[in-house]
Symmetry: C2
Subunit: 123 residues, 2 copies
DNA sequence: GTAACGTACAACAACATGGTTGTACGTCAG
DNA sequence: CTGACGTACAACCATGTTGTTGTACGTTAC
């Protein structure tokens, strides 16, 4: 059940969509900060929910979005679900943005494959 | 040509929302890649649009989303709008994710300290 | 001037998102 | 067992997103 993903650098378009979309909400970013900052023990969903001015169900769904994006993992402990941050995914996203930066600097990384086209065929 | 901009490090929650949401779409990420990779000349909106299997209006709105997020800027040149990537915003987002990583490592999140770090200490 | 080009924007439909409440169910404490 | 706790999920509503087409308007080419 533990999917052995070994520090994948390559991310599928859909995965990247999910990661950035998950990060595009301040509540969810706050959850990420909380669980990354407490990655040893983790936090139950309800203890997370207690911090926000919204229903438990809403927070639960935010956590589900984060989980679907791979930014957090949940682990059952008795009747609680312990949420822990997955720094691997954060790192992958950071790396992608770093590649964009490199692109801007003119150092062509692996991005030319994404572009797939030599420039100059248009206008 | 290295534009020494103000390099804001602090981002409003809403701004971060917009940045990540703008990045949560593969077409828009592709636009960012194209204009960052061609930051000298820039690209008109229609030359960008020619690469995608969707209407010009759709691409135009994608560009508008990127502009609202501060990831690109538009500059009028005759009847064209030249789109250029704004690496500052990309960098700000990357930095935010780097802070999350630091948080995970247990290093206290002193922002100035993190930002002052020279690159390349990653192991 | 006229035609084509590049852009802007509104209206519309389909779908996704983010919140709510209500219900259900397993687990722990008594 | 019973009741409280923690979680899961469905239904619902309001709003936002993403594509479409159509129209309008300034700019460039002829």
């Amino acid at each position: 059940m533990v999917v052995r993903q070994q520090e994948r650098t390559e991310l599928d378009d859909r995965e990247v969509d999910r990661i950035f979309q998950a990060l595009a909400d301040s509540t969810r970013r706050d959850v990420v900060v909380r669980v990354l900052g407490d990655s040893e023990r983790g936090q139950s969903v309800s203890s997370l929910a207690s911090h926000y001015a919204m229903s438990f169900a809403a927070v639960q769904r935010h956590v589900a979005v984060l989980e679907r994006a791979g930014l957090v993992r949940k682990e059952r402990r008795g009747r609680e679900q312990i949420v822990r941050g997955d720094v691997t995914t954060v790192r992958a996203a950071a790396r992608l943005l770093a590649e964009y930066e490199e692109l801007w600097r003119g150092r062509v990384t692996r991005m030319e494959q994404i572009l797939a086209e030599p420039e100059g065929d248009d206008s």
